[in-house]
Symmetry: none
Subunit: 113 residues, 2 copies
């Protein structure tokens, strides 16, 4: 996903938001979860912030570890994937923002500080 599209949508996906919530409510550290699941800490961090999407197996393992409803998490995860595809099509908005960004940059460069 391009950065500009990322910024249009909320950073946290449905799935990531939920597992972070579950983890924090249990007072578990990323590093502990990572160790138990044998997944790199950085990767779980990215899952929670929606920067990366886990695969089906990882979702299931995460659900088991958090003692969470597997179907709930799989559903949120699926919703994220659909939402991602749809958001890719907002490329017109993206282009528009790029143009504005370029123009702002030019402005500030011209009126030197």
């Amino acid at each position: 996903m391009t950065n500009s599209v990322k910024s249009i949508f909320s950073q946290l996906g449905n799935f990531g938001q939920r597992i972070r919530e579950l983890r924090e409510n249990k007072g578990i550290l990323l590093r502990q979860m990572a160790a138990s699941l044998e997944i790199d800490t950085a990767l779980i961090s990215k899952f929670e912030r929606g920067e990366r999407k886990p695969n089906r197996e990882q979702v299931k393992r995460i659900a088991r570890f958090l003692k969470a409803d597997k179907n709930e998490l799989l559903t949120l995860w699926l919703a994220d994937r659909v939402q991602y595809i749809i958001s890719e099509e907002m490329s017109l908005a993206e282009e528009a923002l790029e143009i504005v960004k370029r123009n702002i940059k030019d402005e500030t460069r011209t009126h030197t500080d």
Copy 2:
């Protein structure tokens, strides 16, 4: 796409089905369309049968060539992509769509146009 998933869904996607219809109604051959669009005949054949998914630009070019409604084709194409993802998780699909729908509603309510 895995074979098992392929067999769950009809071979022809929404998009492919429609452009084949449009092309045949105009009496245009694959090879002619291919030549005009500078896309390999085999590839367009695959598009029509839903074996491959075109990218956004190809959809637009195809629409222009067929003098078809660009938005209609883009929508069908997008629907195919969503349908593909969901086909892997049939049982959860409905719930996921509800979530996405809710979020879209929220989005449009927040970022007033």
